[in-house]
């Protein structure tokens, strides 16, 4: 089992950035008013933040990172590793993390890595940057996590368009001797990789002019093979099957009970999934914050965004214990337990596209 514990790591701060442009799912005219109401009630997404074309995930991560570094008063020359976790990159090639290293003004000796993950990305990303800081003997790292899914979801696909929002986040992590151990339980199952997929544009189905053609898949779903395909029932059943056992294994591995956890922060998949998981775990609503009504499913960004949006005031100046659980594309899922010690959390930043440079 990929069950392991990382030592001496402190999460010093988290910042989140969302596009300034807000859309309301009540205005989603592709479906009937009744369907919109049902969608909002069940899936839980009232409003979403979406970018204009030309804005990238790294733009929002950069803004979040700059604000966080400023509030932490970190010296940029001390940042020795940058991990960018996302499934939506600036370019097909090269890697986005190198661009961020330059734009953030980090030194050439800073190790920059792109990790391609979506919904499970924050938990995996924490484990990777924490593992590298420890084994490479480095002191400070920046975990930049986010996604712009709105541009990959077809407008005329009611199963994806009203679900996804965009966001970029930054998390500051440093070696701190004696910090509470952080346990992880990471799992994956590639046999379900077709449950969330963009079929064309990679090597398996090379891009052609045909890839751009729209097709009607079912009532309410028109999209091309360059758009996100989401098999809702498959993803839902996967979540119900895997997430709770994964969390329970983590808790028993770490000799921990849910009573000792102040907040459980789930990936914001959709309200129905998250509420069902909550009931299965038998925990109170007050313990499990939701931000999906405000921001939609922001893929890899959803956990840090939820912490900033829903828990900032509650955990301010406190020593809180958070269980994070992420699951989705790949399929891939994992959970971890972190400690917040006076974490620096700037207010959510709104991203506005800079006027032409």
């Amino acid at each position: 089992m990929a069950l392991f514990t990382l030592q001496n790591l402190q999460l010093s701060g988290i910042a989140a950035c969302v596009p300034s442009k807000e859309v309301n799912n009540m205005d989603y005219k592709w479906i009937s008013l009744k369907e919109r109401e049902q969608l909002i009630k069940t899936i839980g997404v009232e409003k979403r933040r979406v970018v204009e074309k030309g804005t990238t995930t790294s733009d929002m991560c950069q803004v979040a990172a700059d604000k966080l570094i400023e509030e932490l008063n970190w010296d940029k020359s001390e940042i020795e590793v940058l991990v960018f976790v996302s499934q939506t990159r600036d370019y097909y090639i090269p890697q986005t993390s190198s661009i961020l290293q330059d734009k953030l003004g980090l030194p050439q000796s800073c190790i920059a890595l792109d990790i391609a993950l979506g919904c499970s990305g924050y938990v995996y990303g924490l484990s990777v940057i924490g593992g590298l800081l420890n084994s490479f003997g480095l002191k400070k790292g920046l975990l930049l996590v986010g996604d712009i899914s709105s541009l990959n979801a077809a407008y005329r696909d009611k199963s994806t368009h009203p679900l996804f929002g965009d966001a970029g986040t930054a998390t500051a992590i440093e070696i701190k001797d004696g910090a509470k151990p952080i346990p992880f339980n990471l799992q994956g199952d590639g046999s379900g990789h077709k449950a969330i997929i963009i079929p064309d544009g990679g090597l398996r189905n090379f891009l052609s002019k045909k890839s751009l053609d729209y097709k009607t898949v079912s009532p309410g779903i028109q999209r091309s093979k360059l758009h996100i395909h989401l098999d809702g029932i498959e993803v839902f059943n996967f979540s119900l099957r895997e997430v709770v056992p994964n969390i329970k294994t983590l808790l028993s591995y770490h000799n921990e009970t849910l009573d000792n956890i102040d907040h459980i922060v789930f990936h914001q998949a959709n309200k129905l999934i998250n509420e069902t998981l909550r009931k299965m775990l038998r925990v109170d609503k007050s313990k499990m914050p939701l931000s999906i009504q405000k921001f939609g499913n922001t893929s890899s960004a959803s956990i840090p965004l939820t912490i900033v949006s829903e828990l900032k005031e509650t955990i301010k100046g406190k020593d809180s214990r958070l269980l994070l659980s992420a699951f989705g594309i790949g399929l891939s899922w994992g959970s971890t337990i972190i400690q917040t010690n006076n974490m620096v959390i700037p207010d959510i930043i709104e991203y506005t596209k800079p006027s032409k440079r």
Partner: protein, 78 residues
């Protein structure tokens, strides 16, 4: 309490738009209310929460009536 009557009551409480008493064991799901993938998810969630049983897309395709779904559920209760 794993009766079909109880199952129907649970469905009725989950779907507001369903007129109480209208759903019968022999009713077809698709005809009874505006079936779509969101309703399928709601049903799956309810069945998982109430019976700790997972029903999948295949089950929903094969099952024609309320009773068919109920049989799948009871056959899987541990």
């Amino acid at each position: 309490m794993n009766t079909i009557e109880d199952f129907i009551l649970k469905i009725e409480s989950e779907f507001d738009e369903l007129e109480p008493g209208k759903l019968k064991p022999e009713s077809s799901f698709r005809e009874m209310f505006d079936w779509n993938s969101i309703n399928a998810l709601v049903l799956i969630a309810m069945v998982k929460t109430e019976y700790d049983v997972v029903i999948n897309a295949d089950d929903l395709t094969k099952a024609k009536t309320v009773n068919d779904v109920f049989k799948i559920i009871t056959s899987r209760i541990k």
